[in-house]
Symmetry: C2
Subunit: 323 residues, 2 copies
């Protein structure tokens, strides 16, 4: 894997694509190679700015990624775009479709777009996406955008592999306010209200002010300087507000680097993923063969009130795990 | 355990206290007895209304529990109060201190107050509290209030053992708005702004209206009828708004029972706790002896960037778990 690793480190796009395919593979010999490859690529210690991005379908996520990404590459920065999408059926709003719609960005030599591996559970997608991010960092990208469509816990997973977390929203009309999944505001460093253009501009201003108010109601986090997290307006289609948003992100990054929050978060995330990988490996035992069948059978009895959760758990642990 | 179980089912307070002590014990012979006891007590299928309550110190939680509890017992209802507090050092605002401060309620023959077991990790507190709730249900209590001080993930745990979740807040002054931990609003069925009395009443109205607005920004949940989750004002000290709040809770409960959401939630929670108990049992392997030492050692290397998370996890799983 040293040769492939060297080619990734040299920034070869095809090598990077192959390397990501390798970490996505479920075959155990591939897994072994992937671990060695990651070790090799990590040895350089390169860091990108990893930006997590969440937003429900319809908020203009692909347009935003294209405009924002083009603005960054125009500044000479190299940008990778990855997606974390644990849903098995990929909708039209997914990044796979986006690759065609992110027409300009996908043809930009300084950009690299990679769809999420599909049809697998979140734990697996999470690890593979996090490893793909590490490969992009090794390949010398300056910014790695990790997009998620906000299915289940995918935002948490993306936040754990990001230095910054953006929440993209669309303007809401009057009383009929859009539903932000609870708990997502928890992770946002910057909320961007998109489509602040034309007829939607007044609604965008109102939405932005509503969310700025909601953010003030939340507890202050130690990793935030004064004024953060913040809500801002952008128009991806008119390319307005993007440089302002980027300036705010850079200010936040600078502050976190100066105060040590950046390094602390990186270290904590690495340790988190180590523990998470071990936990996933251990819990995977429960998904196999006979053990799995027994879990399903007992789970039904518990839900029906036939057995208490405690008694059923005791039975499982005694039968299958105290070896 | 049949005799103790029968005495719990007969509603004997001392038997209930002893039974809770038994489920709190970490001794493995006690655990076996506790499992049998829970099985016996569950056989009657009794259900209380389990109300989770969260609020940071200073919001008047003990005063609220006392006033609200007294209102319920005055209606002839039997009320149990439990606490989930995973912090090892118990502060003055804890329920242990509250037992003295909840002076009237603790002397009420229709009330039962039990402090949280202290100095243990959340997973352990969670299971034991959930089992204490089941014992109180078996003992024929009509309402079981489960209080948490909001440390870490304790709200999630309390929500998983509750039919309703209340968030208690104090009025905020002007711009200096109080910090609600992100993600807690996610779980609230009713937000109660306490201290809506005297000089604080205008601030309480403003806070209530702010949170009502914030709740409208969140996504609608299937288990909520129109108008829920909602924010209301109460004054625990003047005993105002309590019957109104109770009426809203009952309306919500009735709706959920009619629509099947009550039973579905109960079944899902039971299955959740079964899976959780098994997962905890499996993960407990990582906390033992040599395995634990190895986790700490490798975790430090990962945080320092010496080893990648993937490689360290692979080493752990190969050495200790593929037996």
């Amino acid at each position: 894997m040293t040769e492939l690793g060297d080619r990734v480190l040299a920034g070869e796009r095809r090598a990077l694509a192959r390397a990501i395919t390798l970490v996505e593979s479920q075959r155990s010999d591939h897994r072994q190679q992937a671990t060695a490859l990651l070790e090799h690529v990590a040895s350089k210690g390169r860091q990108a700015l990893r930006i997590g991005l969440s937003g429900t379908p319809g908020v203009g996520k692909s347009t935003f990624i294209e405009s924002f990404g083009m603005m960054l590459t125009a500044q000479g920065l190299r940008v990778a775009v990855l997606a974390v999408d644990p849903s098995s059926t990929r909708s039209g709003g997914s990044i796979l479709g986006d690759k065609t719609r992110m027409d300009r960005l996908s043809r930009d030599p300084n950009a690299f777009i990679r769809p999420s591996p599909s049809q697998t559970h979140l734990g697996g997608v999470a690890r593979r996406s996090r490893e793909a991010v590490a490969l992009c960092e090794g390949a010398g990208f300056d910014v790695v955008l990790v997009e998620t469509v906000g299915v289940g816990q995918s935002e948490t997973v993306v936040a754990e592999m990001s230095d910054l977390f953006l929440l993209l929203l669309a303007p809401a009309g009057g009383d009929e306010l859009q539903g932000v999944k609870r708990g997502i505001m928890e992770m946002a460093d910057v909320i961007l209200v998109n489509k602040a253009d034309g007829d939607l501009k007044p609604a965008a201003m109102r939405t932005c002010s509503d969310y700025a108010g909601a953010l003030r109601l939340l507890r202050k986090r130690p990793q935030d300087p004064k004024g953060f997290p913040k809500a801002m307006m952008v128009s991806a289609i008119e390319e307005n507000g993007l440089t302002e948003a980027w300036a705010e992100m850079q200010a936040l990054v600078d502050w976190r680097k100066e105060t040590g929050h950046w390094d602390a978060r990186r270290a904590a995330q690495a340790e988190y993923w180590f523990h998470e990988d071990v936990r996933q490996g251990v819990l995977a035992q429960l998904q196999k063969g006979e053990v799995r069948q027994q879990m399903v059978r007992l789970g039904t009895l518990v839900a029906d009130g036939v057995v208490t959760p405690s008694a059923a758990a005791r039975e499982m642990l005694e039968q299958h795990l105290h070896r």
